[in-house]
């Protein structure tokens, strides 16, 4: 039987060993990382599903652990993404400046994750959260930019402070740091304040509007194998905090009668809607493939917030399923981009083209991931989006509905962009020598491809598990049979049937295709050019400003948020220099002024 405490200690110990091993030989260290993550994943998966993990504590004084279905759901998804990504390490580790610390921090952050989801104490939760944030903060600058880490840390810090403040508010009212007792004991105005504070933490971690600025910077500049973890796994910590606020605290704010929804929850749903719209529009505009996917994470974070704020079992199930579907889709897409970036050395879409001819498997992985991301059957994203749609329509939320639909259609646009610009189109001469990713990198690619399809075809098992979580938090579970899911509005979905019918359609089309005369293969350059002689692949490759006519419509508005944060940063800087001016100067007069003021304060302190 696996013990949580031992798992955490094991990870911390292995982190040290991997540090030494990587020092010695980078490849051995990376393979060691793979085995350690695999061991942790297997022990969690082996015992966690039936809640058979041992929670006793023998070595860590003061720590307590407990297990819940909710925590396990998160921890298994995140550990899975960590495991998948660890297969990429041997091929990327040599590109990093501080190899040994990379593996060390990677394992240590996983320890933090396991601790955060299995703890039952707020202070420990904060401790483990900080462990994750601090370790990842040092992982991110090993990519392209150091500033990315600063931006990530700044927003995470804002979230952490809000979280800590919320924890202290809970303690001051209920006198306990226990998570369940503390959340249950909240009431009155304090609960509203804690609700807001926790939501700030959740928004900062999830990268939701308006605390999203760090997301593209950090995801876009993080090391290639770490971006899938950031987007697929770590932002989900925000969703976990959002569940605390939206579902477990759920303060009694004024209810909007026609919607049957508290005002606070409705505001969160609207902000989630804004995240969806903003993320979609920015993703459509983005030229860097990784930043594009980062903005799409923001938009999907919005879906999760919308789902959690609707306060019923159906929407909650949709949100939880979306966490899984997005983790798989986003990890798959980011890993495909990482595999491409490994051979091309760039993630800018306008510099690439025609990668499909040399990397067909990576292409398929990306294709399946984006089909799921865009919510098209037969992939997992369709199930979760369908459930969320049903829940939104059932509540009659028109404005949230607009955002949800806009994000869903808009996602076709932005996911298609890397597909067209990076994988399809003309095969550029500079990439004619590249090869498909090595077999060790294809293993996780295949696994994620399979799971993306599995979640879309047979969701019943997963939804059964989600139902246990729903019962745990006290909602009505959704009705799931082996083949059909029943949503609101008396609607039934049969994902297996959809896949079957789609398969039959493709089969018919394939038969028609194969029966007809065989086509003659021609070169890609042999295309219709209105009788002009075009000699260069680059001239026939349409990638730059793909959606130019659409982008032009919101060009002016698109940098409002950046400008706002720049202005904010400038104000903070000004404040800093003002303090510097007052306290840290060689000017004798100012020093004397402060001495005088302090003496006056000391002398007349009581009188004042």
């Amino acid at each position: 039987m696996a013990n949580i405490e031992l798992l955490i200690l094991f990870l911390a110990g292995s982190a040290l060993i991997s540090y030494v091993l990587t020092r010695f030989n980078a490849n051995i260290g990376s393979f060691f990382t793979i085995f350690v993550t695999m061991f942790v994943f297997v022990s969690l998966a082996g015992f966690g599903f039936a809640m058979n993990l041992d929670t006793t504590v023998n070595y860590l004084p003061g720590f307590t652990f407990s297990q819940s279905y909710l925590g396990f759901y998160f921890v298994i998804i995140i550990t899975f993404v960590y495991l998948m990504v660890s297969f990429f390490h041997p091929y990327f580790i040599n590109k990093f400046k501080y190899r040994s610390s990379y593996n060390f921090l990677f394992l240590l952050s996983l320890a933090g994750i396991i601790g955060a989801f299995y703890t039952n104490n707020f202070l420990q939760l904060f401790f483990f959260f900080e462990l994750v944030i601090w370790t990842t903060m040092f992982l991110i600058p090993q990519g392209k930019s150091r500033e990315a880490a600063v931006s990530y840390f700044g927003f995470s810090l804002a979230g952490s402070v809000a979280l800590l403040l919320g924890i202290f508010m809970i303690f001051s009212q209920t006198g306990t740091f226990d998570i369940n007792a503390g959340l249950a004991g909240l009431s009155g105005t304090t609960s509203v304040i804690v609700f807001i504070l926790f939501l700030i933490a959740a928004f900062a971690k999830l990268g939701a509007f308006p605390l999203h600025i760090w997301l593209p910077i950090a995801h876009g500049n993080a090391p290639h194998p770490f971006s899938p973890v950031l987007s697929g796994a770590l932002v989900k910590l925000g969703a976990f905090i959002a569940i605390f606020a939206l579902i477990k605290i759920a303060p009694n704010t004024q209810t909007i009668g026609v919607l049957d929804l508290p005002l606070g929850h409705y505001m969160v749903a609207l902000l989630g809607g804004l995240s969806i719209i903003f993320g979609t529009l920015m993703a459509i505009k983005e030229d860097d493939a990784k930043k594009l996917l980062a903005y799409s994470s923001m938009s999907h974070g919005g879906y999760i917030l919308v789902a959690f704020s609707l306060m019923n079992g159906l929407a909650f199930a949709g949100g939880l399923y979306h966490i899984l579907a997005h983790a798989l889709a986003s990890a798959g897409a980011f890993m495909a981009i990482a595999a491409v970036a490994r051979v091309t050395g760039t993630t800018k879409m306008k510099e690439m083209g025609g990668m499909i001819h040399k990397m067909p498997i990576t292409y398929l992985a990306y294709l399946i991931a984006i089909i799921s991301m865009a919510g098209i059957p037969p992939m997992g994203g369709f199930i979760s989006k369908w459930i969320i749609f049903q829940a939104v329509i059932d509540k009659g939320l028109i404005f949230v509905g607009i955002a949800v639909f806009f994000g869903s259609i808009g996602s076709f646009l932005y996911v298609f962009r890397p597909l067209a610009a990076l994988f399809l189109g003309q095969e550029l001469t500079e990439y004619k020598h590249v090869k498909e990713a090595p077999i060790l990198m294809l293993i996780p690619t295949f696994i994620i491809m399979g799971l993306n399809i599995y979640t879309g075809v047979f969701p019943a098992k997963i939804l059964d598990f989600i139902n246990k979580i729903i019962v745990e938090v006290g909602y009505v579970p959704i009705s799931v049979s082996t083949y059909a899911i029943t949503g609101a509005n008396d609607s039934i979905l049969n994902p297996g049937l959809i896949s079957l019918v789609f398969g039959i359609g493709v089969l018919i089309a394939f038969i028609i295709f194969i029966l007809l005369k065989k086509s003659r293969k021609v070169e890609l350059m042999d295309t219709y050019t209105a009788a002009n002689f075009v000699h260069d692949e680059h001239l026939l490759h349409y990638t730059t400003d793909f959606y130019a006519p659409l982008e032009r419509l919101y060009e002016k508005q698109s940098n409002w948020m950046t400008l706002f944060y720049q202005a904010l940063a400038q104000k903070v800087k000004d404040l800093g220099s003002f303090c510097k001016y007052l306290f840290m100067s060689n000017h004798i007069g100012r020093t004397l002024l402060w001495i005088m003021l302090i003496i006056i304060a000391l002398l007349w302190g009581e009188a004042l």
């Binding site: 499909i356 089909i371 865009a374 919510g375 098209i376 059957p377 369709f382 049903q390 939104v392 009659g396 028109i398 509905g401 607009i402 639909f405 806009f406 259609i409 076709f412 646009l413 298609f416 597909l419 067209a420 399809l424 189109g425 949503g487 509005n489 008396d490 609607s491 039934i492 049969n494 959809i498 079957l500 019918v501 789609f502 398969g503 039959i504 359609g505 493709v506 018919i508 089309a509 394939f510 028609i512 295709f513 007809l516 005369k517 086509s519 003659r520 293969k521 021609v522 890609l524 042999d526 295309t527 219709y528 209105a530 026939l540 490759h541 349409y542 959606y547 006519p549 659409l550 419509l553």
Partner: protein, 301 residues
């Protein structure tokens, strides 16, 4: 189960035949409108079978695979389509969102194949098609949100039955503003003027279709006809009260398609950014107003 699947394939085939004939008839009608004779009513069949019989070129496996995925996705979608309120392949599983999202698989396949041809006109055409989609889908889905909320079901046959019940009007009458939005969105879906920017023959050399010929083009023609069948049938079921028997369905179908075609033929063409601005101005506003007065105030005719 096998029977249901066969029935589904039959419906897809029926849709193809119906729409292809009707498209031929419409070419004749438009011809008469423009004081021409117009082609024979079965001209569309001749075009398709001629294309299928020809030897063509291919630009690599994704070029072919995309075409197969496009036609397959559309056939799959058409298999779910009810013809009347009782005649459908998979009872209770005709959920509205299946049509919107399964059709997207076909669209994605075609877009992929077109981009895979390596012709920039094709990519521009795909870009325009996706942008148009972003424009018309959002107002349309807001109207559908209203309908699903009112009918309390997202199954097409249930929505049709709700309209056939005594005391309820067809949604095009019950929700007049939403009805107008739906007609406009339908024109966008069918790529009729003024929203045919993504084909725009003289401007971007037929857009996505520029590189196709022979069997690939023939299969995309079939795909197009079935897509039109799905979209027009959706309109019939959602807004015109569906059909209690197949003749009513045929009449409603023919009227809707011909009506849209007639409007289309007296219009010019929007630029692509004008399409977006158009749909996000009046249709979206009308859809939202309609949703608010229908859902929150309960004013339904």
């Amino acid at each position: 189960m096998i029977l249901n699947l066969l029935l589904g394939v039959g419906i897809a085939l029926f849709g193809f035949v119906l729409q292809t004939s009707l498209a031929g008839v419409n070419r004749k009608i438009i011809g008469r409108l423009q004081k021409r004779h117009g082609p024979k009513w079965y001209q569309e069949f001749i075009d398709i079978f001629k294309l299928l019989s020809k030897r063509s070129v291919t630009h690599g496996w994704i070029f072919d695979f995309g075409v197969i995925m496009a036609l397959g996705g559309i056939i799959g979608t058409a298999m779910f389509m009810p013809l009347t309120t009782s005649f459908l392949a998979f009872e209770t599983f005709d959920n509205f969102f299946i049509f919107v999202y399964l059709i997207a698989v076909g669209m994605l396949g075609m877009a992929m194949s077109a981009s895979g041809s390596g012709n920039p006109w094709a990519s521009i055409g795909v870009m325009r098609a996706l942008t148009t989609m972003l424009a018309y889908e959002v107002p349309f889905l807001v109207v559908i949100l209203t309908i699903i909320k009112l009918a309390d079901s997202s199954s097409l046959t249930q929505i049709a039955l709700y309209q056939q019940m005594a005391g309820n009007n067809w949604f095009i009458i019950a929700l007049p503003l939403g009805g107008i939005v739906a007609v406009l969105a339908l024109m966008g879906m069918l790529g009729k003027k003024p929203f045919e920017t993504y084909i725009a023959p003289a401007e971007i050399a037929s857009g996505p279709m520029v590189e196709y010929g022979g069997k690939q083009l023939g299969m995309l023609f079939i795909m197009h006809e079935i897509t039109v069948f799905i979209e027009v049938s959706l309109f019939v079921h959602l807004f015109l009260g569906g059909a209690s028997n197949i003749f009513i369905f045929l009449i409603k179908y023919a009227v809707v398609y011909t009506f849209v075609n007639l409007i289309s033929n007296v219009n010019g063409r929007f630029k692509i950014d004008q399409v977006v601005l158009f749909f996000y101005k009046w249709p979206l506003l009308m859809a939202v107003v309609q949703a608010i007065i229908a859902i929150y105030f309960g004013w339904v005719i």
